[in-house]
Symmetry: C2
DNA sequence: CTTTTCTCTACAGCGGCTGTAGGAAAAAGC
DNA sequence: GCTTTTTCCTACAGCCGCTGTAGAGAAAAG
């Protein structure tokens, strides 16, 4: 039986994160000692490892929930599992494409700046005038997993 | 003089976002009508356009604050502006590299799955066993601007 | 003058954690 | 067995960058 701290170390997770996963129902409520401390078995260890590894691959907690549900019904077709993975792949590809566009624009902007004084800094000009952009981007702002 | 809604439309920003920028000191407190509604001039329009465009290039609000401060001192060297842009470029490059690693791992995982049943789905196996990973990644989890 | 549209403030919520405070339980050292 | 240290508990606030909501008042349009 593992304490929450040991489980955390074994999976490279923070203790609070494990409690957070429990709170949102991604990890089950574990048994407790007389003193009220959580104790985990191997099943929970595996589940948490699965979650963490999926997170490292950029899956959202919702997607992970879905994968965990699917893996609980071993007789079903794994087409759905495939679909979740494909979706994730497409998201990653879209993010790469977007970042590559950003990268070239940043590079262009930086290369054009030969000036010394802020007054005629091309970088600031480009930032000021959207017109100088090669391409429009879709709206920014939402947050996402760093992955 | 522009109302907040007009300013929002002109810059592709939501009204609440403008108020949020004001709240965190990125936009100045504008003048008001007798009835207490915000009215903006061209200076504020330009400033907001600058902010929005920088956001589209993935700059954090903190970085934008820095750029705005720098652009207020036109006689200074633009080396600092350049540094901020370079930093942003490096961050974008790092994210691209990371996402590319994820992409290949996702592709590999998906390609290996030839099974029909969830019970022997390779995707789930890979997610379960971190050992099957080609490379370890650093920890995920922090949030960031989508850009 | 009425209706519609816009704006106001204040606050909660998103994802995915992370940090903190104040206390209790468990492990380690002697 | 006793003390010290470490770990654990709950509860809640904060991070980023917004976005949405409620209920009320102001401004524009018909």
């Amino acid at each position: 039986m593992l304490s929450i701290g040991t489980l955390a170390k074994r999976t490279g997770t923070k203790v609070q994160t494990i409690r957070y996963y429990e709170q949102i129902g991604l990890m089950p409520e574990p048994g407790r000692t007389e003193g009220g401390q959580r104790r985990y078995g191997n099943e929970e260890l595996d589940r948490l490892a699965f979650i963490r590894h999926s997170r490292q691959l950029g899956f959202s907690l919702e997607a992970i929930r879905e994968l965990l549900d699917l893996s609980d019904s071993p007789e079903r077709s794994c087409a759905q599992v495939d679909a979740v993975a494909q979706r994730q792949l497409r998201e990653v590809e879209a993010r790469i494409a977007r970042l590559q566009a950003l990268r070239s624009e940043l590079r262009r902007m930086i290369n054009e700046c030969n000036s010394d004084r802020v007054a005629d800094c091309r970088i600031l000009e480009v930032l000021r005038d959207h017109e100088e952009c090669l391409a429009d981007h879709d709206k920014p702002g939402a947050t996402q997993a760093r992955a």
